[in-house]
């Protein structure tokens, strides 16, 4: 018997990892394209609007035609559509989102003032929803049909069917107002008390204000993470490597923790990021109900007034950040999943 000696392993050389950069660049390029599309679409969508924004501005006030013209000129509405478009794009790429009709201030400033609280709320809610969903989903999917599975899937499905604002209102009525024996222990509005103490007391105060809004968002959002995690774990249960792990003598929970969950996590992670837009959408109603001074509330106000520059600016910002988050997610996913990493 001869084993032909040509160094087979010479061909089997260590791979060089330069795919990631190329991939990241491609993704960023794609994101930029998406953002460009958003900008164009936003411009035209908001120009389709019936009605004259300047009149909206003049609402009920006595303004002379000269004043109106002046205002129009200030907003660049006296130019042709093409010129306006160029102007709009130019402004937008220079991070100028225009001036709010209602607040008479740059939209970007208004957003800047509120983005922190939105990030705090959605960030916390997202982290909680994701952890809860993944934890429960993993356990439920590992033992499909078990009592834990039935219970957690059932609860999450019920909560998932609940309109966010309705749940928020109920929670507000029960836990902020207090009903019967339940005391209204949580605050009715906002992110902090007017007389919030400093230091750690402040943190506690904010935390207390966050309980209900967070709970509302988590309740509605976590179901999808649970369900995705559950089904991806379910997919892993039958995989051969799980059988291998069993054959190796691993305990059941070790198999779940060390093998099934890391594999199932990856599809869930993509979903987490892909559904960020959904969470942001939920923020609009939650912030309105709990008077949370964030972007969602600003957006809601812009819609109610309506303040089209503000609406447009907020929409642009929300969309662009969701796109960027998605891009980030793609790249992170790429970093995390060895299968994609060097493919």
């Amino acid at each position: 018997m001869t084993i032909a000696p040509p160094a087979a392993e010479a061909i089997d050389e260590q791979p060089a990892g330069r795919g990631l950069l190329r991939y990241a660049l491609a993704k960023v390029g794609g994101a930029l394209l998406s953002i460009a599309m958003v900008i164009v679409a936003t411009f035209f969508a908001f120009r389709l609007l019936p009605g004259d924004p300047v009149r909206a501005l003049a609402q009920g006030r006595n303004m002379t035609p000269e004043q109106l013209d002046l205002e129009r000129h200030r907003l660049g509405l006296d130019k042709s559509l093409a010129e306006q478009f160029v102007h709009f794009v130019n402004q937008t790429v220079h991070f100028d989102l225009g001036t709010s009709y209602e607040y008479k201030r740059p939209v970007l400033d208004l957003i800047g003032e509120r983005i922190g609280s939105t990030l705090l709320l959605t960030g916390t809610a997202l982290v909680m929803a994701v952890s809860l969903g993944i934890w429960q989903g993993a356990r439920a999917g590992w033992k499909p049909g078990s009592r834990f599975d039935k219970f957690s899937t059932g609860v999450s499905l019920v909560l998932w069917s609940v309109p966010t604002f309705w749940l928020g209102l109920l929670l507000l009525m029960v836990f902020a107002a207090g009903i019967g024996p339940i005391p209204g222990i949580f605050p009715t509005r906002g992110i902090e008390s007017v007389d919030a103490p400093d230091g750690f007391g402040y943190v506690l105060d904010v935390a207390k204000h966050m309980v209900l809004p967070c709970l509302t968002m988590v309740a509605v959002v976590y179901a999808q993470y649970l369900l995705v995690m559950r089904s991806s774990v379910l997919d892993e249960v039958g995989q051969d490597y799980v059988t291998t792990a069993r054959a190796k003598g691993l305990r059941d929970d070790e198999i779940r923790r060390r093998h099934a969950v890391p594999n199932a996590l990856l599809p869930t992670v993509t979903l987490v990021f892909m559904r960020i837009g959904f969470v942001v959408g939920g923020a609009v109603t939650v912030e309105a109900i709990f008077s949370w001074p964030g972007l969602g509330q600003l957006f809601y106000e812009a819609i109610r007034v309506p303040d089209f520059t503000l609406m447009q600016g907020t929409f642009l910002l929300i969309t662009v950040s969701v796109i960027l988050m998605n891009t980030l997610a793609d790249v992170v996913y790429h970093l995390l999943d060895p299968r994609v990493r060097s493919a």
Partner: protein
């Protein structure tokens, strides 16, 4: 009848070197002839078969049928595909699980608008050995055994009354006990209908079982071809020799290390030299193997091999 001339197929993929899956192949299948195309995994057999059917466009070279080069316009392709048919490796996969046997076999006649659909279908089924055909009309693929499924696929091809059948690993997914039956069917069809066939396989035993001629492929090229008996009994090319040596009954086995190298990086000189046992054993000709490019084998019936040793 069906002929490929200096056929090459490249797959370009972004950010990578193009894969030259088929890299200069001359091959012909005569009327009523069964040709076996053998080779290791990834050497381009399937790609060649697909290209012959016009499912893949060659980057250079031509496929011609009855002397006329294949045109890639939709109409011409459709007409061509009445003459040349394909049978795939996985009979379960090649049948739409939502279609009954009848629908599956009638698909071709429907596409080509043949008259007397039911008769055609019944005839094709019975030719493929599913008798009485009516019993099978309304079955779904999952209700059939593997061998029956493959017969349905063959019947689907036969329904168009083709002249040439290209079978890509037709029995690879079938149980050992069943494959003989399918191979016998191919032989019988050749005898009864004068059907030509190109059978793609990695199984030398299969070639021995049914093929008139064998072509051995390595990394996109045919390295040896000729009448079956001659090639399989006295292989000339070191690669063919190695392939034959690992069959269980062979006395001395030459196990090539590594996998077939990747078609994106075809070595210079003789493309087999990095794995060649003769080169490795320090044969003086080795230098030539590393540097000198070999000519493409012509599409001839006689036994021939592309090797510097010869």
């Amino acid at each position: 009848m069906l002929e490929a001339t200096s056929l090459a197929v490249e797959f370009a993929s972004r950010g990578r070197r193009p894969a030259r899956a088929v890299d200069g192949v001359n091959l012909s299948v005569g009327a009523g002839e069964i040709v076996a195309l053998v080779g290791e995994s990834g050497c381009g057999k399937t790609t060649l078969a697909r290209t012959l059917l016009g499912l893949e466009r060659p980057s250079s070279g031509t496929v011609s049928y009855d002397g006329t080069p294949l045109s890639y316009r939709a109409k011409a392709l459709k007409a061509y595909r009445r003459q040349v048919q394909l049978v795939l490796q996985d009979p379960m996969g090649s049948l739409n699980p939502r279609q009954t046997v009848y629908e599956a076999v009638a698909e071709g006649p429907r596409i080509h608008g043949l008259p007397d659909e039911e008769k055609v279908v019944a005839e094709a089924l019975s030719r493929a050995g599913l008798r009485p055909p009516e019993r099978f009309f309304l079955r779904y693929p999952h209700e059939l055994s593997g061998g029956q499924r493959q017969r349905v696929v063959i019947a689907g091809a036969l329904a168009l009354n083709p002249k040439v059948l290209i079978a890509d690993e037709p029995v690879a997914s079938l149980d050992a006990s069943v494959r003989g039956e399918i191979l016998a069917l191919l032989l019988r069809l050749r005898d009864e209908l004068g059907l030509s066939a190109l059978v793609v396989t990695h199984d030398l035993g299969l070639a021995w079982n049914i093929a008139d001629r064998v072509a051995v492929m390595y990394l996109g090229r045919i390295v040896e071809s000729g009448p079956t008996e001659q090639i399989l009994k006295s292989p000339q090319h070191p690669y063919t020799q190695a392939l034959l040596s690992v069959l269980p009954e062979s006395p001395a086995r030459i196990v090539l290390t590594g996998e077939p190298p990747d078609p994106t990086r075809i070595p210079g000189g003789c493309r087999f030299h990095p794995r060649c046992q003769v080169v490795a054993s320090g044969n003086p000709i080795a230098d030539k193997c590393r540097t000198d490019v070999l000519p493409i084998l012509p599409a001839s019936d006689a036994a021939q091999a592309a090797c510097h040793l010869l």
